[in-house]
Structure formats: C-alpha cells, structure tokens
Amino acid sequence: MSEIREVIINNDRLATDEYLVNMGPQHPSTHGVLRLLVRLEGEKVLNVQPHTGYIHSGIEKMCEAISYPQIIHLTDRMDYLSAHMNNEAVALCVEKALQVEVPDRVKYIRTIMDELSRLASHQLWWCVFGMDMGALTTFFYGLRDREKILDIFEETCGARMTVSYSTPGGLMFDIHPNFQKRVKEFITYFRTKLPEYDKLLSGNVILRERAEGIGHLSLKDAIDFGVTGPSGRASGFSCDMRKHHPYSAYPFVKFNEILDHRCDTLARYEVRILEMYESLSIIEQLIDNIPEGDYAVKMKGVIKLPEGEFYQRVESARGEFGVYIVSDGKKNPYRVKFRSPGFSNMFALNKMAKGHKIADLVAIMSTLDLIIPDIDR
C-alpha cells in the first residue's frame, strides 16, 4: 500500500509513462535490506525515496539498559565494517567524561587498528563497487586482500569483524607478538596489489565513462545534507575528523586529507583509492614506533560517568561517527545517540540520482558506501 501512499504524499500523480519500482528490500545492489522507492520514466530516475527500518534493532534503547563497557559490543554491530572505530568512539567518549588519559601505546595501537579497519572497509567497498558495476572479478580480488587484514584482527582481537577491541580505558588485550610482523608483511603485500586495483578498474575506460560527471553533489549540498567521509570529501567538503579534531595517535602522524572537487562518482571512487594509500602510509609511520607500556589503565569495576553530556567525533570508514552520551551519574547512560555517517549520507541519494539512469543510481549508491545496520541502528 505504501506505493499509493507515496503518490498521495507527494501530491502529484504518476504521469502515463512513469512508473514506480521497489528496489529492495531484497535487491542485489542495496547491500542489505534497504528499500528504495524509485520513480522512473523509462530508464530515467525521477525520484528516489529511501525506506529504512528493516533491521532497526533499537541499539540506542538497548544502550540505556547496560553499562558502558557493555555498550562496546553493540557498536560493533552497527557499522560492522568499521567496528573498531565505533568501539573507539565510545571508549574515547567515556575516557573524556572520566578525564582518563590512556597510555601512548594504547593510542598507537588504536590508530593502527583504525587504519587497518579503514583499509578493510575500503577494500570491501572497492570489490562491491566493482560488482555493482558488473565487474565480478574485482569482488574476489578485494576479498582476497581483505582476508589478510581480518586474519591480523583475528590473531590480535580474537574476532574478525566484531572485534570489541577498544574498551573504556584501553584495549581488551595487548597486541599479539606477531602483530607488527604481520602488519608489515601485509603492507608490502598490499602495496603490490593496490596498483592492480587501478589497472583493473580505475583506469578502465568503461568505468570512467560510467562514473564521470554522474551523481553530482555540490559542496553546498554536501554540507547541507551532512555528507561526510570519502563521499563528502569528493565534493570538496573538508570533513576529516582525524585532521580537524585529532584523537588517539593522529596528532603524531603526517597524512593528507584527500580532497577532490569534481563532486561526481569518479571523484568518490578515487578519493577512496587514494585514502587506501594514505592509510598504508599512516600505518607505516606508526607500526615500528609502538611505545612500550600498559595496554590499559586500571578502571573501576563499575564505571560511572559524571552527570553531564559528552560528545565524541571520530572518522569512521564511511564518514563522521559521533557518540553523544547523556549521563545522569548512574552506571548506565541516560541517553545515547549514535550519529552514524550512513544515515546522513543516504538521504543525499535522491539529490544525486535525479535525472540519471538506473545503472547510475546503483553506481551512486555504491559510492556512498551504505551499510544498512549503520543507518537503521
């Protein structure tokens, strides 16, 4: 019935040669259970309405009933591709509220893990983007390389995706003795594979023709819609939290914020590819200099935050991730809000896809890199 409702809400009837298509909730390119109500004229997209909530799990409500260390494992399950960044955001927020200073070792390890997660996320994005474009081989190349990062995670954190590695006050474990060796091996390995990504897909004339000038999102719109992360930076929106509000070990490393002013699908693609190079260089700067020390500071058995409101912004693989905790002094938060990057990014889809073809809609959606649990929470 929602189709009919849609038409009435928009208060304009479908013209004779227009039709509505439900893309999703089960559709190969929505990467989960997102439903897009697409209004089409032939192949041309006239309007896209995202419908969410198919996997709304009430994480914010659940957080109100559990203690701060327990929140961590729920944030894993929101944006499962940047699980470590989400963990870190909560941990940093709690540490900020308690005014706990963690050892440098923790900061370094957290940053390395952040960048590894970002690499893994961008690799998965790359292979899925290729698949959405119809190049199925990229999918396996991307997963092949991501597997190596997941192995590193598994060895150190005990889990491959839902790592739960950062806890308030430090880390769950110290790094595994093999960690540095394996990360270095991975960097040398991936530096040989990344140019292959470019050869296979970035340079390909079909991809460039399909991506260039498609899905324009101007800088003003990007800020207005709150499109952050690589998608926002491709519109020239300087929104890298690592640069503007450095946390963990980011003040100690040199890196560039990748900005692109072409605002199209190709720009979003290239920003992510360049970010992979940047992540590699960040890890290289840190991996040999992990200082000795404790991997966690001693926290109280029951963590109680002082009364007040605390906000922590971090840069997840998809954009700005924010944790807003309202505390009333008890051991569980009064209200938790997760500002998830995908939520804001997704609603810019209509703006970007209007007037393009169905195939472009798929490509644009792919470059926004949506993770549905991140949106639905």
Partner: protein, 151 residues
C-alpha cells in the same frame, strides 16, 4: 573562534537566549518560538556561520522533551550546541529546522519516530524505522512486555 569568544559573541548577539559554557561546547538554550529564527541566524551570520548540523538528538528529560542540535562551522571550525525544550511531554511540538539544514529533515523524522516529537512545518514527517501505530520506544515510559526483558 574559541569557546570563550564564541560565548561572548553569542551572548551579545542573542540576548534573549540562555548561553552557558558546557564541558565541551558552548551551549545555547532557546525557546521554541525563537528556534527557527535563531537557527537561521546561526547559519547565516558570517562571523559564526554554523552551516553544518552534524547531530540532532531527541532526549526525553522526564518532565519534558528536548532536542539537542550539534553545530559545526566548516568555515571557522568551531562548534556549539543548541538546545530547545518542549513544553509538553506527552504531545511535544517543536518547530522544524529542516528549512535551515536539509539534513535535519531526516534526523527530525528519526526523532519523531523514536520519541514522538512532532515538528511543525516539516514537509515529510513520517515514521522512519518503525511501523505506524508502534509506540515511541526511546521515551522513558515505553513499555513492551514482549520484547523488553527486565533483568
């Protein structure tokens, strides 16, 4: 601007609003009547130009509802918090700011969905995640005997 500068500027510019230094950001509490106008000015004034709304949170404060706007300026790189509280808790009504920051349109839909806060002048106020007829789960008095297990 630093937080102190920002605070003095805001105090001077918005005399009717309540402005206080928060633990992280400058906080400004306005009434619902002044919300939309204040928001527009916060965005448009060149000295502050808060053009990027990065978080909009609805909070159930037991006696009333509140909306917390976290604002960032991409020009000056300073941040502030704008707060507004509703008069009523059961049927809270607040003016929309979606005509100022487009992203608020969707965050407000989320707040409407989960907290039942009604936004005036919102063009497309529908539930975002949950079905029609569902309760408002983030309210403190929300009861769901089937799905919520108390420990």
């Amino acid at each position: 601007m630093t937080n102190e500068e920002l605070q003095s500027y805001l105090t001077e510019r918005f005399p009717e609003a309540e402005i206080k230094p928060g633990p992280q950001y400058v906080e400004m509490i306005v009434t619902n009547a002044a919300l939309n106008k204040t928001a527009r000015q916060l965005k448009q004034l060149d000295e502050i130009s808060f053009d990027y709304l990065f978080c909009l949170t609805g909070v159930d404060y037991a006696e009333n509802m509140g909306i917390v706007y976290h604002l960032d300026s991409t020009v000056h790189r300073h941040m502030m918090v704008l707060k507004v509280r509703t008069a009523d808790r059961v049927n809270p009504v607040i003016d929309t700011v979606s005509d100022v920051w487009i992203t608020a349109k969707y965050h407000e839909r989320e707040a409407y969905d989960l907290l039942g806060i009604h936004f005036n002048n919102h063009t497309d106020l529908r539930r975002l995640f949950l079905d029609d007829g569902w309760g408002f789960p983030l309210r403190k008095d929300y009861v769901d005997e089937v799905r919520i297990v108390e420990r």
